[in-house]
Symmetry: C2
Subunit: 258 residues, 2 copies
């Protein structure tokens, strides 16, 4: 604006950018929490709210991108200041993706709400609590520029991967027990996958905090433990009753669970 | 390096960054193609290669990030030059994610290769051809700085979403027909989802090209048509034989397909 009367210092502008990220983080956190609640309570109204509110995160990302590019052009920053701005671009992109996953969980909860309650649904709030606490720690670590806290949160993502892998195998088993479980369990598996991806984006943010504060990439190497992609569960291994297995033509040859 | 003898012009440095993106794009494209081939041919060796080669894309992203930050600090660019550098950060992040999805498709193909051939597997090469052609167009649009080509590719993502939604419903139906289809079809659904996500990242790149060339965000608004998240298929709607449906305790009350 040509008529801008307030002249801010560069430090104030960086602080403002950082506050925008913190606010966007708060909205993303609330979206994840509400999406998980919508699944647990089969709350269609809440799910609809989450889907609508996703546009707020898109708007935050656009604002943060525009502000970051403006500061790069105007202030020609170096060192830590430059890292602040580059980090804000990266973190906003991760938070926007987290919002997309929350909206997709809400969307799938609408399909689930039409169906009988599926047992593995209890695992969603369990994954939800873990992912919410990882997100909270990562966002606190950002506000406090606390690398140790960021690394601690980054390490907890492994629990989430393990929870996801066991839920994946469990879901396959329920589907084999009763075909009425197939649609709800498939949506639950995708919801769990979304939660696992939210965790991955939270670890991306933790890595960005390390780069921001220390100036170098995070050198730790945690092997990615997505066991679910290898999971094979056969109808017999799933303990399908003998007569039913016979009716379905299941034979020993297909029993190659790993 | 203090002993650097070659002094490059800024224009040369930007061209080098742009070439790095083009190379990374080529590797990502090859990874997607190889992953789809590994599924279609049940080729375990090729799948393993794809999983191993993913590290190359991670290395490209690190190099591009480092080079972009170096140029921001050293050259303090403005306008189009600044957009070139910010765009390279964004595109590298999208290509790295595309690589992750290709590696996950390859990983799941290892589980699939142990199982009987599942019918919807033919849909994977079909989605593969579409996503490969969208990626090719987007990468050409980047090299040629061709906004119209980028928008045309961006619009074709809708076909991919439609293909994914129909594959999702088809997969649910096969699972209901025979529990032996449950594990392979679940992996196929996740592969199809990965392909749909690769398409989303390709459209992100198309949007970045618009920003890079025109200087403003892409104002078009294509409604996101992920119908699969709402999909409900009941065992009866899936045409489960009457006697079997009875044995499984399926009744009309659960027949709420939409």
């Amino acid at each position: 604006m040509g008529t801008e009367h307030i002249v801010r210092s560069f430090a104030q502008e960086l602080q403002r950018l950082s506050n925008l990220i913190a606010q966007m983080g708060g909205v993303a956190e609330a979206q994840v929490e509400a999406a998980v609640k919508a699944v647990a309570r089969r709350d269609v109204g809440l799910a609809t709210q989450v889907m609508q509110a996703d546009a707020r995160l898109d708007a935050y990302e656009r604002d943060i991108d525009a502000e970051a590019v403006r500061l790069l052009a105007l202030r020609q920053p170096m060192a830590q200041d430059l890292r602040e701005i580059v980090s804000s671009l990266k973190i906003a992109a991760d938070l926007e993706r987290i919002g997309d996953y929350a909206a997709n969980i809400a969307k799938r909860s609408l399909a689930l709400a039409q169906l009988p309650v599926a047992r593995p649904a209890v695992a969603i709030p369990r994954m939800g609590r873990l992912v919410e606490s990882i997100m909270k720690d990562v966002l606190d670590a950002y506000t406090e520029r606390d690398v140790q806290k960021a690394i601690a949160a980054w390490e907890r993502d492994e629990e989430l991967d393990d929870l996801y892998t066991s839920l994946f195998r469990e879901g396959l088993t329920y589907m084999m027990e009763d075909p009425r479980n197939i649609t709800p369990c498939t949506h639950l598996l995708f919801m769990a996958k979304n939660m696992e991806r939210i965790g991955d984006h939270a670890t991306n943010i933790a890595e960005t905090i390390h780069y921001l504060v220390v100036g170098t990439p995070l050198a730790l190497n945690r092997p990615k433990s997505d066991g679910s992609s290898f999971a094979v569960v056969s109808p017999l291994a799933a303990g399908l009753p003998g007569a039913l297995a016979e009716a379905l033509g299941v034979d020993e040859a297909s029993n190659d669970a790993m």
